[in-house]
Each structure stands twice: as C-alpha cells, then as structure tokens.
Amino acid sequence: MAIYSLKETKLPPQSQTKAILWLKDNLFSSVSNVALTFIALYLIYLLLPPILNWTIFNANFDLTADNQSCGREGACWAFIGSNLKMFIYGFYPQEELWRVNTMFGIIVALMVFGSLIKKSQYWARYIIGSFLIYPIVAFILLHGGLGLEVVETDKWGGLTLTVVVAAVGIVASFPLGILFALGRQSKMRIVKFISVVYIEFVRGVPLITILFMASVVLPLFFSAGMDFDKLLRALIGITLFQTAYIAEVIRGGLQAIPKGQYEAADAVGLNFIQKTVLVILPQALKISIPNIVGSFIALFKDTTLVLIIGLFDMLAIVGAATSNSAWLGRTTEGYVFVAMVIWVILYSMSRYSKRLEVRFSTEHK
C-alpha cells in the first residue's frame, strides 16, 4: 500500500501570475493585438509629449510674469492668473463681486442642505420652494435693487454669465417643456397640433438661428417703447430652444406610463389637473430624470453660443482678454483653460446622470 504524502503547493507558473497574465491577455494575446499595442504606443508617443511639454514642462507657471517674459515655447499661465477675475465675473464692478460670490454661495448651501434632508418628507417642498424663491434672490443680488447698486447686464460676463444663462434656461424651460409635452400627448387636436409644430420647428433649426431671431426679430414684435435687454433676448431664445427638447424628453417619460395609471386616476374620480399633477407627472418625470439631466448638459454646452450675439460668456472672455495689447497672442492658453473648466463641469454632470440612470434602473429589476 502506497502512502501518499501531501505535496508542497507550488506558485503558479511565471506566465500565469497576475501582471504578466494581464499583459498577455490585454496587450499581446495575438499577432494583431501586438500590432495594435504598438500602434497605440506610437500614437501616445506622437501626441503626449508635445501636449505635456506645452502645458507643463515648457510652460511658465510664474503668475507674475508678463507676456514678454513668459516665452513662446510653452503655455503662459500668468495670462490666466492675471485675468482670472475676468474669466469668472466678466466686467462686474470690483467692489460688488461679493454679490456674485454670495449668489454662488447660496446655491452651494441650498444643495448641501438639500442633500442632508433628502430622506425627509419636506424634501420635495424644499426643492420646489428653492426653485421658486432662489431665482428672485439671485436676480436681486446680481442685478441690484432693494438698496443694492444696479449693475447693468452688459457688465455681466465670464463663468457667471454662463451659469446664469444655463440656470435660467433650465428653470424656465422646465415648466414650459412639461406643458408642451402634455400638449403633444393631448387628445385635443388643436393643442396637439400647436405643440407638435412648435417642437418640431425648434428641433429642426440650429440654435444660432433662434438666437438670431431672438436678438434681431423679437424686438420688432413689441411696441417701440419696450427696451429689450441683450441678455434677456438671449435668455428668451435659449428658453424657447430648450423647451422643445425638454418637452420631447418628458414626452418619452409620459409614453412609458402604463394606460392603467390614467384609468385608475379616472376611476378614483380625479379631474384632469389632479390626475396629471398627482399621478402621471411624478412617475413620468422620475423616468425621464436621466434624460432631463442629459438635456441640461447639452444646454450647458450650447450656452457658449451666446458669444455669437455679442454676450461675454467665458469663451468670449478669451477674445476680450487677448485683444488687450498686454496679452496679445495668448488665445490658446485661454481656450485650453476655458475648455478645462467647462470639461470638468460637464464631465461631473454626465457622471451624475450616469449614476442617476443606474439608481433608477435598478428599482425596476
């Protein structure tokens, strides 16, 4: 009878250990894969060094430098440093900047407080209340009145303006979008017709033509005495545009509501408004939240277009700052900086919408 003794366990062979196995599986699994790896490495070699050299290694990080002493081999970040205020606040008066900061501060405070009471029963009321009251507070802070010195809108600019345009577009287009979505779903022929024509018309033309219309044609529609602010015109254009897109997103949500919900609401004897506000919309909006966020992201990207009708959003500030003789020829730095700021904002928004999507999709499984 043979006696077997337990053999010592061996480590897996070299070729099966983690790092090498990973490399083999992911980079060198076949001939074509090896070729691809080398192509990728070559591309990285081609692209990365010049970019890194310009932004970091050859760049001048001395924020006190001026255009001459900065050098031309790399980026001159002093340009951003010395124009940072303009990038954020536009031409807002120096001594009033606290008002913009307060406005941003209140948003942050509202959001933090909102996330703290997320579980509370008052959350929905809190959100709706802030959406109703905050715009008024923000407007008084930015524009003036109630004892604050009036700052005309042509002084607004930079990131502040970008945020204002996007926020107004979002807040104003939302209720309008709901109306048009309901209109498009309505059984009333004329209402449906008007909604369909409006939505399809707006979605069929580029934003820039709508902005042109708002800035050039719209004033003609009102009596001569009414003086239209340039910013207001842009806001009207953006809102009209965004309304159509939000309406389509919400319509998608409405279509996903099973017919039984409508019938059940009718059966309990709710009237149209009760049925819509209490039964249909809460469900439809919940389904469409990820897409609504997606549409807001698109809107945020589109706000840059206001520069074409002569507003100074963050992107337009690049042009304004480099037309100053002290910083001639630093447009690339400006664009890269603005791109980075907007990228961070948009990327975090899209991450957030992905998270929402996951959160809402698991509930049905």
Binding site: L27, N33, I39, I208, M213, F221, S223, D302, I308, L315
Partner: protein, 387 residues
C-alpha cells in the same frame, strides 16, 4: 335648464372644445399684436419688407465657392444659393469624416486590447464634453498659427499649396475632356456595382465566392486614370499673386477648422452609438458564431455588425442632422456658409431680419425633414419581418 348647462360645462368634450377655442383666441390675439407692432416698427425704422431684396446686387465677395457662378455683382439670391451649397459641402465632408472616425473609435472602444480601448474611451470623454463652438475656435486658432504664411506655403509639386489661408488645389477646366473622365468614372462605378451584384447572387445561389476587388481596382480606379492619360485634362493651377494664391480650387482654413472640429466632435457620438449597438447584440449570437467556427473578424463582420447597425444607425442619422445644424457655427470663424453669408452679411446690408432669418430657418427645416424622411425609410426597411 340651468343644471343642463352646468352638466354641459362639466362634460369633458365640451371642456376640450372650449379650452381649444380659448387657446386659439389667445394665440391669435398675441400674433395680431406682434404683427401690428412689427408693421409699425418696420415703418418707423424704414425697413423694406418682401422678398425683392433677393434680386439686389450682393456686393460682397465670398471666400469659398465651389460650383456656382458668383461675384460681388451677383444677386443676394445667388449668395443664398452659395451659402446653401457651402453648408451642404461642409456637412457632407463632416459626415464622411465623422463616420470614419466614429466607426474606428467605436470599434476600438470594444477592442480586447487594453490600450486601444482606453484611448478610445479617453478620446470620447474629452471631445464630447467640450462645447463644439469652443473646439471650432480652438482648432481655428491653432490652424492659423501652425500653418505658414502664403509666401512660405507648403508646396506639393508646385500645384498644391497649403498655408494659413487654406489649401489650394489645381482645378480641372470644365470642357469635353474633363467630362470624358467623369463619364468613365461613372461607367466604372456602375459596371462595378453590376458585377458585384452578380457575384453576390452567385454566392447566394451556389456558395462560390468570387473576388471582386480586382474589378473594383480596374473599373473604378484604373479606368478613369487611363482615360485621363489618353485624353488629358486641362488644369488651372493656383499661382501666388500679391499676398495670396489666385486660380485653382481653394479650400479655406476656416473650412478645414470647421469640418475637422465637427467631425471629431460628432465622431464621439457616433462611436458611442456603435458601441451601444454592438452591446445590444445578444451574447448568444457571438457564441453561436464561434460555435460555427467563424473567425472573430468574420463573426464581427457577418454576424455582429449587421445586427448592431440596426440599433446604431437611427442615432447616427440623428447625429448627422446635429452635425449639419452645428455647421451653422461657421459664423464664429467666418466660413462662408448659409448663416455667415445670409443671416450675417446680407442681413447687415439689407436689414430685413424677418425674411432673412425665416429663409435661413426654412433651409434647415428642409434638411431636417429630408433626414428624418431617410430615417423613417430606414426604420421601415430595417424592421424585423414576421414574428
């Protein structure tokens, strides 16, 4: 009587009619007010109305002009046509490039190669989250500084020149010989399609595969070249005169900046559409293909992609529409397409904002309509039959 009226008021259908009448009245009232104000304003400012301005002399030069006859002495209507053609040209160029880049990036995104996969993901995340207008302005400013001045143009064979103003190519003179070459190209393409159809049919019936690539090379590429050498085509070469090149075809640097930005921006969306299309194909399909012994590349080409495209193509066509609409951002760099020429220059000269912007919007609406028509046809054709 009273209760009857009351019950009528609570009747849903009656309410609907009343509500609609109210809506129409309100809209009509505002429309009337707006129209009234508009007439008054137009009169006060001394703006003309109507479309007679289309026959006025345009009086401005246009940088990019490809097919149409145009000079500053041409009418505004001709300028309008040039604008439409230029919009279509930049849109088609953009769509072509965006599709190629998008397809490459979309497939790379699914590659088994880690580096390629990650690079594609990084590309998508970077370019999707930067506003297109910013990208256009950025690449435009880069192009302006990266390319040399006209005097120091990059020169290919003394016939093609590249500088910070644009790309200058020799232009074939449109006469008999040129049409011979074009005709031979068309004949080549048509007969290749015919041969390809026949070989496909043969493949379907007998399973015998014929290699059609030699036919393609011979008919589509070689034939026109041979005809070109036999008959010869007169070319008009660009020549440096003063500060810039004259003659030949010129593609302005604005065109390149716009087409390039539009394609790399839209490509990110196309890549995502392709990825989600491929991911929508059931895993069993891939496994079944492997079980049949198909190579990976074959499985992709014959099994996965045809099914993936069914899902991916509608969003891709939507992106084509978006690209076309985004081409209106040319106004920011001054590529002379519809918005730049018409809603920009002509509007500044003529001042008839309503008519001009209406016409501009009409063009885009038509394009949207055509594209959604194509989409509908595609959807009908692609519907899974039976079942």
């Amino acid at each position: 009587m009273f209760t009857k009226l009351k019950s009528l008021l609570y009747n849903n259908e009656v309410r609907a009619i009343l509500f609609q009448i109210l809506a129409v009245v309100v809209i009509a009232y505002f429309a009337y007010q707006a129209f009234d104000n508009m007439m008054l304003n137009i009169e006060q400012r001394g703006i003309r109305s109507g479309f007679s301005f289309l026959n006025d002399e345009a009086g401005f030069a246009v940088n990019d002009n490809f097919f149409l006859e145009y000079s500053p002495a041409s009418t505004n209507l001709q300028a309008f046509y040039v604008g439409i053609v230029n919009t279509l040209i930049v849109a088609i160029t953009g769509i072509f490039l965006a599709s190629i880049i998008g397809l490459i990036v979309g497939i790379s995104r699914l590659s088994s190669n880690y580096l390629i996969r990650k690079m594609a993901a990084i590309y998508i995340e970077i370019f999707r989250n930067i506003p297109i207008l910013l990208q256009i302005l950025f690449w435009y400013s880069i192009a302006l500084s990266a390319f040399p001045s006209p005097k120091n143009s990059i020169n290919f064979f003394d016939s093609i020149f590249l500088n910070s103003r644009g790309l200058y190519l020799p232009k074939p003179i449109m006469d008999g010989q040129f049409y011979f070459v074009v005709a031979s190209l068309i004949v080549g393409i048509v007969s290749y399609i015919f041969i390809k159809k026949r070989s496909d049919k043969k493949h379907d019936e007998t399973g015998i595969k014929t290699n059609t690539i030699p036919y393609f090379l011979g008919l589509v590429l070689l034939l026109p070249v041979v005809v070109y050498f036999i008959f010869g085509v007169q070319l008009e070469y660009p020549v440096l005169k003063g500060f810039n090149f004259r003659g030949g075809v010129d593609l302005s640097i604005e065109f390149f900046a716009l087409a390039f930005s539009l394609s790399i921006y839209t490509a990110t969306y196309i890549a995502e559409a392709i990825r989600s299309g491929v991911e929508s194909v059931d895993k069993g399909q891939k496994e079944a293909a492997a079980a049949l012994g198909l190579k990976d590349s074959w499985a992709m080409r014959l099994i996965i992609l045809p099914q993936a495209l069914r899902v991916a193509i509608p969003p891709i066509i939507n992106q084509y529409l978006n690209l076309t609409k985004n081409s209106s951002l040319a106004a920011a760099v001054g590529y002379t397409e519809l918005v730049t020429i018409f809603s920009g220059t002509v509007l500044n000269v003529v001042g008839q904002a309503i008519e001009i912007i209406m016409l501009t919007m009409l063009v885009y609406l038509t394009i949207s309509l055509v594209i959604s028509l194509i989409l509908n046809i595609f959807n009908k054709k692609m519907q899974i039959k039976g079942g």
